[in-house]
């Protein structure tokens, strides 16, 4: 008898809790983004080795420094490729013999931007081979225009007077910057 009563209540409960469900599918694709530019512009910068201040003195590279350029980027991550790097290389021209052009990228600065910014690898010597200048950029945007992002400091250095050649007195270097997956 108890069993029948239990079954009866079960049936009644089914009746009371009758309900219906429907579904609405939501699909969203967030696009992959990898944008990089140089601010305030990509105009040529000049690094100059002036004549010595005194006869017999070293060539003066005090003018051979430029920190007017900034790297801005907007970069998304994916689960399979969570970080990107900024790669620099000389794609046209040669550094004069006996000299080096060094580049240092600061860590991110500026009031704008958010996310996982890249890390400066420190100073690199520019060459015709690609080198990482900023590493481990996650999903991030630096803020746009100068004074946002990573400040670049270029400097000219004399490393070997014997190799210097006065015929190579003016060299134009074309440098590329690439934001690429790790």
């Amino acid at each position: 008898m108890k069993i029948w009563i239990s079954i009866l209540f079960f049936m009644m409960s089914l009746h009371i809790s009758g309900q219906s469900t429907d579904y609405w599918e939501v699909n969203l694709t967030l696009p992959q983004i990898a944008l990089l530019d140089i601010e305030p512009n990509n105009a040529t910068i000049e690094l100059e080795a002036d004549v010595p201040n005194n006869p017999g003195g070293e060539l003066n590279t005090g003018e051979g420094i430029d920190n007017s350029k900034w790297i801005n980027y907007t970069s998304t991550s994916t689960l399979s490729s969570p970080t990107k790097n900024v790669i620099m290389e000389i794609i046209q021209g040669q550094v004069p013999s006996g000299m080096e052009v060094r580049v240092n990228a600061s860590n991110h600065s500026g009031s704008k931007g958010a996310g996982t910014f890249g890390t400066s690898v420190g100073t690199i010597i520019l060459s015709n081979s690609p080198q990482t200048i900023i590493s481990d950029i996650g999903g991030a945007y630096t803020g746009n225009k100068k004074n946002n992002g990573h400040n670049l400091t270029f400097s000219l250095h004399i490393v070997n007077y014997e190799l210097m050649n006065e015929l190579e007195d003016s060299n134009i270097l074309l440098v590329s910057y690439t934001l690429m997956d790790n």
């Binding site: 049936m11 089914l14 609405w24």
Partner: protein, 158 residues
């Protein structure tokens, strides 16, 4: 024993038809359900502050098998989501527009969670209640992937 069996089946047959007097909810998406994301054109820029997608729309109907409930049967709709692949930072906000028969919860966006919350309440049969959702909190910091979830509408009689 046979008496019990006969009694049981009599009750069972009496109850089965009443069980089928159920209420039904139907969601019918309308228009373009593709969700477009704004293009970022300048390096250094993110999505605008408080960026949200355009609204995606559907129509909702509540019906009953039992015509006697078409007028005054009170009901409540619960809403939740079941994620196939989703990022917790992405917020889905849903709104149902006010219409005759919808007594509570209309005209206000509610954030959909992974558990049931009250969405709309009303009584009787209603049709073509406009629903719309938008996705908020979209950010560059969220991995660029394809996300998928399902909004689950459950109607219960009150």
């Amino acid at each position: 024993m046979n008496k019990f069996l006969i009694s049981f089946f009599l009750v069972l047959f009496a109850l089965l038809p009443t069980k089928s007097f159920a209420q039904y909810i139907t969601i019918s998406p309308t228009g373009n359900s593709n969700i477009k994301i704004k293009n970022i054109k300048e390096a250094g820029d993110g999505y605008p502050n408080n960026y949200k997608t355009k609204k995606v729309k559907a129509k909702m109907s509540v019906t009953f098998n039992n015509a006697s409930k078409n007028q005054n049967q009170k009901w409540q709709i619960l809403i939740s989501k079941q994620d196939t692949f989703w990022d917790d930072e992405l917020q889905i906000w849903l709104k149902g527009k006010k219409k005759k028969g919808v007594d509570s919860g209309a005209n206000q966006f509610k954030q959909i969670k992974n558990y049931d919350i009250d969405f709309l309440g009303g009584k009787g049969k209603v049709s073509n209640v406009q629903l719309e959702f938008e996705i908020r909190n979209i950010s560059i910091t969220i991995p660029a992937e394809s996300y998928s979830t399902e909004l689950v509408f459950t109607i219960i009689e009150e």
